[in-house]
């Protein structure tokens, strides 16, 4: 599983960061950083929650 963020869509609302702070971080520059692009299967449900709850639908999961 690889996390893909469309940074043209991302508005740094930081919803993902609340769900998975070990994977997503919005820093003081107001930009989103992906701390772990390829989390393990154990993180799948949390990442899926991020995908679903992102207000801009900017997050997706690539299976490669």
């Amino acid at each position: 599983m690889r996390i893909v963020v469309d940074f043209d869509l991302c508005e740094s609302n930081a919803v993902c960061m609340q769900i998975a702070p070990d994977i997503f971080e919005v820093r003081d520059d107001d930009f989103l950083y992906i701390l772990n692009e390829t989390p393990g299967e154990g993180d799948r449900s949390r990442v899926e929650e991020c995908v679903q709850r992102c207000p801009k639908q900017a997050i997706s999961i690539a299976e490669d």
Binding site: N13, A14, V15, R27, D28, R53
Partner: protein, 400 residues
């Protein structure tokens, strides 16, 4: 306990309704799912309607939340442009505006809300509300005609976003607010004043503590008369004075309606009937308070919860920390929690002068909310503390 429904009908094809439909499939429900929507459009996202679409930066298609292929893949049948007009719980039938009746087994009520309007303005063109895509395109067309002056009635979040977008288009804007300080009931006087200053800094003529007496024009709007007797010449008026939940169609259904469809803590309104989004009122056990929430995040989450509730009676209570964002000019304003105007408020990081800060709210020793101006990271951190029912002192001592 009753069994899970064989088929599920969702009335309301916006964010809550669509999220309910998608959640049913995610949870493995394989019976028929039907989405009934009063608008002729497929589900679309409303936040861009006061921002990117209204600004002309996006074409409306970009606000789509789904497309016919996706719905077909998920096996979601959509019936658009049809309005439900009655509900009969005994026969488990819906009546549509066409006169047709539709049987249902499980039901999600997600009919949302509509804008309050100013009485007496019905026949006057150029007077707008902003809720639907059609509202947005009508207002956008009026903005494109480069009006001399736009009057925004109500300095709540919708009014504020419309004012910001209009200023971004270079239009002159007067915003009229009945309260002495905009948003003071929601954010308190101090933070409401910060919001007011942001508009003044961007050239909005903000009039506070004054009501609108009369909107007049011969066919087309010409002027707005205020309660202090002054008048403003206007070519476009946008009224943003709140919404009314769409519950009239439930009259006589036996469902309890009280400023929204009254649900239990899990969003259940009756046997195999749930409600979600702007139309639902439910006791949020995290706050010990019955609420109806009009935010994007709530519609999405509650839609999914209402769907799960139909499939599994043991789903448990819906206990979110309400949260929303509002983009105005170059500021991202976010509020999480359940704040009252008289809560104690403290700035915990950043600078109010630079309009880049977070402030937390407290009442009875507990943190009740967090407001951020371009501080999304802090808002989410404090939102987690609210979720954990942290004390105000704990929150004040936290460092993020």
């Amino acid at each position: 306990m009753t069994q899970a429904p064989r088929a599920i009908t969702i009335v309301g094809a916006s964010l809550a309704g669509l999220n309910a439909a998608e959640a049913l499939r995610r949870e493995g429900f394989d019976g028929p799912v039907t989405l009934i929507g009063a608008e002729s459009h497929l589900p679309y996202d409303r936040p861009p309607l006061s921002k990117q679409v209204l600004a002309g930066d996006w074409e409306p298609e970009r606000a789509a939340l789904t497309d016919p292929e996706e719905l077909e893949e998920d096996g979601i049948e959509s019936r658009l442009g049809v309005r439900a007009t009655a509900l009969d719980l005994n026969t488990r039938q819906l009546t549509l505006h066409t006169g047709e009746t539709v049987e249902f087994d499980g039901l999600v009520i997600a009919t949302g809300a509509r804008c309050r309007t100013m009485p007496g303005t019905e026949g006057i063109s150029g007077v707008h509300v902003l809720r639907s895509l059609d509202d947005c395109l009508a207002l956008r067309a009026d903005f494109e005609a480069m009006p001399q002056r736009v009057v925004v009635v109500g300095a709540g979040f919708i009014g504020a976003e419309v004012a910001a977008t209009a200023r971004g288009r270079g239009l002159d804007v007067t915003m009229v607010e009945a309260l002495p300080t905009p948003l003071s009931r929601v954010l308190g006087d101090a933070m409401g004043e910060v919001c007011a200053e942001v508009h003044r800094d961007h050239g909005v003529d903000l009039r506070t503590a004054v009501g609108v007496e009369h909107i007049a024009g011969d066919g087309r709007v010409e002027r707005v008369t205020l309660s202090d007797g002054s008048t403003i010449d206007a070519d476009v008026v946008v009224v943003g004075i709140g919404v009314i939940p769409n519950t009239e169609w439930l009259d006589g259904s036996g469902l309890e309606v009280d400023d929204g469809v009254v649900c239990d803590a899990s969003c259940l309104a009756a046997d195999r009937v749930t409600a979600a989004g702007d139309v639902a009122r439910w006791p949020n056990e995290l706050f010990g308070e019955t609420m109806r929430v009009e935010h994007w995040d709530n519609a999405a989450q509650q839609g999914a919860h209402a769907a799960r509730c139909l499939l599994d009676a043991a789903v448990g209570p819906f206990t979110p920390v309400p949260w929303f964002w509002s983009d105005q000019y170059d500021r991202k304003i976010q509020l999480a929690g359940r704040v009252r105007g008289d809560d104690e408020v403290r700035v915990v990081t950043g600078s109010v002068e630079e309009r880049r800060f977070a402030a937390i709210y407290g009442r009875a020793g507990r943190i009740t909310g967090v407001l951020g101006f371009n501080r999304p990271r802090h808002v989410m951190r404090y939102r987690a503390l609210i979720e954990q029912r942290a004390s105000f002192d704990e929150a004040l001592a936290a460092e993020f």
